[in-house]
């Protein structure tokens, strides 16, 4: 009996162990061989002639459709497969040619874009002006459900002038259109999408970009390979994998063990561990994303509606101290509503830290700081150290006697509270990436904009007027004027341009971009 039991036990064990191996693994069809062979490659750091890279990512893409989901996670990945018509300079954020060679505006309602010749898709088809029209129409077609459509509603018609020229007509003057062309529009191969349908195209993308699609295993990895006929030349790194690791500590461990070569968003309190590692470096860039403390003048019966109270808070918050003590100096201080790399940026006056002046202003406004109680809402984990920053601001305001209660919100409810005008006196929010004034100023300082926290009828009139100006110089002046006025009004406490921090293998040539993308074509191994 004993022997029989033992025998059965061994048999069952063997069956179970076999059942738990490759053949049955997770329905990720055919992925197993690749994964195991890749693990071998990944551990070969330092070998000469390394031609593959693994980038650790916090989340999976939702779709491989271009111009569909407004989501940085998607963009950072698919922009290796698809090209944009207009690109951004990686360090200055300026518009630069990509599939477009040049562009000009014909009149206030018309833009003409000249396209590059000789560009081919991964399936061998030629890229033409018709394809640009098809892709813009794809965004505009309500049936396709592109989340970008809301930004493009002012586009009236796209006309193909010649195989290399396309004209975009808008219903109102739309001087910032090119920013949307650069930010939203990537070119999918139209015939492929029409042939296989949207559902299939969402899993199997064909573009003109430097990398061809190989395999996508949901919540596991995305594998791409170099497209040798890429119009800018052959990519140096032949194989590219995005591996999805949601947990930061696990991402860090995967980096330290050599499984991944690059990842973004290192919390500042974890930098030390990476700095001590021999084969890694920290990449840093001042992102075009801005962080601010909104002083919610739209809240009913709030002392914040008083300009002097807002100014007082500006004097009482010590931004330098927050930057240095909580963010270890990682961030670029701002004094106005726009970041320094914003094309419409103008230098505004810095309130500086002056608690006495703050108390004086509060008293002038009729408030005794000791009796003032304010609320401060913050998300947690959305921006670097966001809830710590909120606590820091509360502590600073308490120094002059203001009692601040900090409320930490889940990200979705935080946004909803702002939209539904349920926010109390102050809240923390980030904005961007923002490269021009209108998308920030119109969206954050007008009465009806969903994420606004400020309204002044006079300023709103001026914003509307500035939006209509098409010529660059008067437009720049109008927005410069607005920036000064908003600072004077104490509409926000501007905090900083966010610092994007990357863990980078030290033998990788990689420059972090201001738009947060990972363009692997620009990377190489030393």
């Amino acid at each position: 009996m004993k022997k029989l039991v033992m025998f059965l036990f061994v048999i069952v064990s063997l069956v179970l162990i076999t059942a738990c191996t490759e053949g049955t693994s997770g329905g990720e069809g055919g992925s197993n061989d690749n994964s195991s062979s890749d693990s071998n490659n990944d551990n070969s750091n330092g070998d000469s002639g390394k031609d593959s890279i693994v980038i650790g990512f916090e989340a999976d893409a939702t779709t491989m459709l271009g111009s569909w989901d407004v989501n940085y996670i998607n963009q950072a990945q698919i922009r290796n497969i698809f090209d944009s018509v207009i690109d951004r300079d990686p360090s200055t954020g300026e518009l630069i040619p990509a599939l477009a060679e040049s562009w000009e505006h014909i009149d206030e309602l018309t833009w003409r874009i000249k396209l590059r010749e000789g560009v081919k898709y991964h399936n061998g088809k030629d890229f033409t002006a018709e394809d640009v029209k098809w892709n813009i129409d794809f965004i505009l077609d309500e049936d396709n459900g592109s989340f970008y459509r809301s930004r493009w509603v002012n586009v009236e018609e796209v006309t193909v002038i010649s195989p290399t020229e396309v004209e975009i007509k808008t219903s109102v003057p739309f001087p910032t259109l090119l920013n949307y062309v650069a930010g939203d529009l990537v070119i999918m191969e139209p015939e492929h999408v029409e042939e296989v349908g949207l559902d299939e195209a969402a899993k199997n993308p064909v573009g003109t970009g430097p990398y061809k699609f190989v395999e996508w295993s949901r919540d596991n990895y995305l594998k791409l390979e170099a497209y040798d006929e890429y119009w800018q030349g052959e990519p140096e790194i032949k194989n590219l994998e995005f591996r999805y690791i949601p947990e930061f500590s696990a991402r860090l461990s995967a980096f330290l063990s050599g499984e991944i070569d690059l990842f973004k968003n290192i919390p500042v309190d974890a930098l030390q561990e990476l700095e001590q590692s021999d084969n890694s470096e920290i990449g840093e860039v001042a992102s075009s994303r801005i962080n601010y403390l909104a002083l919610n003048a739209l809240a009913e019966d709030s002392p914040i509606q008083d300009q002097k109270v807002r100014q007082a808070i500006n004097y009482a918050v010590d931004v330098d101290e927050l930057l240095n003590s909580i963010l270890n100096g990682y961030g670029t201080k701002m004094t106005g509503p726009l970041s320094i790399i914003n094309q419409d940026y103008t230098e505004t006056e810095d309130y500086g830290y002056d608690p006495d002046k703050a108390v004086e202003l509060l008293e002038e406004a009729g408030y005794n700081p000791e009796e003032l109680e304010l609320t401060l809402d913050t998300p947690s984990g959305r921006y670097p150290m966001d809830s710590h920053i909120a606590q820091g601001i509360a502590a600073q305001l308490q120094r002059i006697g203001i009692e601040v209660s900090v409320q930490i919100n889940e990200w979705g409810s935080h946004l909803e509270k702002i939209q539904n005008r349920q926010m109390g006196d102050m809240f923390i929010l980030g904005w961007g990436p923002a490269y021009e004034a209108q998308s920030t100023i119109e969206n954050l300082f007008t009465k009806d904009a969903p994420y606004s926290s400020f309204y002044d009828p006079q300023i709103e009139e001026e914003i509307k007027a500035a939006n209509q100006i098409f010529d660059p110089e008067p437009r720049l002046d109008a927005f410069a004027e607005l920036q000064h006025k908003l600072v004077e009004q104490g509409a926000w406490v501007p905090l900083w341009q966010q610092a994007d921090l990357y863990a980078v293998r030290s033998d990788l040539n990689f420059e972090p971009r201001v738009d947060e993308y990972f363009q692997v074509f620009d990377m190489s191994w030393k």
């Binding site: 009996m1 407004v70 295993s217 995967a254």
Partner: protein
């Protein structure tokens, strides 16, 4: 017997519907997904248009009725984020989760039954005390902490095993250990106490008195009789393992159902969350249902009660 089965089965359906209802309302109370999906520079008009198009502006009970009618027909809607059939996305993840759950279950049984039996047999010895202490620790350690600790030592420091991801047997080792830790502790304690109960029974004493060898006594008389309650516990735990591997899957980037649910919850992708909860509730209720029916079959008294 048939009456009993039908009655129990109706209860299963009721439980699943109640679970769906509770999750539906809890999720909707947290708000709608619009603010997370549209670009932040979308205007109020566009936000309203989107709400209307997707029906989020209707009264919540109308949304609920509409949802339940469709769900009963097996239509859980499309994922808001990816536009794919939500139930299909959920079902695609089951094999990965099942693989992890079964291997964890197997590992825990492999360790816990011999350990529990030995603990009971060597009751009140040093060995027993260490065993009991370990099971207490095993049940108390949070799985994410254990997972991170394992990753730190075996992946980052020793570089022996991958820190996460799925696909090959080697990727399974760390998540399996993490997921099994709690079950090992639970099963060991349970085996120990069941064995202790049985070892005190008269027939064991009689067998012992009649000179039966120890091995035979334990394997044949005691363990065999304590297996039934252990099997029940295992069946219940399997449901928990299948549904509850969320944290382990997130820590180890395991592409299973738990991780899909977590991601979808953060995104407020309601159709996926509800389809996922539905599948887990069905699993859990069916496993209980089967256990109950088998019990009733073995012990007719249960049917009468």
């Amino acid at each position: 017997m048939l009456d009993f089965i039908i009655k129990r089965f109706l209860q299963v359906i009721l439980v699943v519907l109640l679970v769906l209802t509770a999750v539906f309302f809890l999720m909707r109370l947290s708000g709608d997904p619009v603010s997370l999906f549209l670009p932040m520079d979308a205007s109020q008009e566009q936000i309203e248009e989107y709400r209307e198009k997707n029906g989020y502006n209707r009264p919540i009970f109308v949304q609920y009725a509409d949802y339940m009618v469709k769900a009963v027909k097996g239509n859980f809607g499309d994922s808001i984020r990816s536009n794919e059939d939500a139930l299909k996305l959920v079902l695609e993840r089951i094999p990965a989760t099942a693989q992890l759950a079964f291997s964890a279950l197997f590992l825990s049984l492999l360790i816990s039954i011999p350990l529990g039996v030995l603990s009971a047999y060597k009751r009140n010895t040093f060995f027993d005390r260490v065993g009991v202490a370990l099971t207490v620790v095993g049940q108390a350690v949070p799985s994410f902490w254990l997972g991170l600790l394992l990753i730190y030592f075996f992946a980052a420091q020793l570089q022996l095993l991958p820190s996460g991801g799925g696909g090959t047997p080697i990727h399974m080792i760390l998540p399996t250990i993490t997921l099994a830790a709690y079950s090992v502790a639970r099963f060991t304690r349970f085996t120990r106490s069941t064995m202790l109960d049985i070892l005190r029974k008269d027939y064991i004493r009689t067998a012992k008195a009649s000179g039966a060898p120890t091995g035979r006594l334990i394997m044949r008389y005691a363990l065999k009789n304590s297996l039934i309650p252990i099997i029940t516990l295992v069946a219940l735990d399997l449901g928990t393992l299948l549904g509850g591997a969320v944290i382990t899957e997130v820590v180890f980037a395991w592409p299973g159902l738990g991780r899909l649910l977590m991601q979808s919850l953060l995104n407020r992708d309601f159709p996926i969350v509800l389809a996922g909860v539905f599948v887990i509730a069905i699993f859990y209720s069916l496993i209980n249902f089967i256990a109950d029916v088998l019990y009733a079959y073995v012990n007719p008294q249960i049917r009468v009660k």
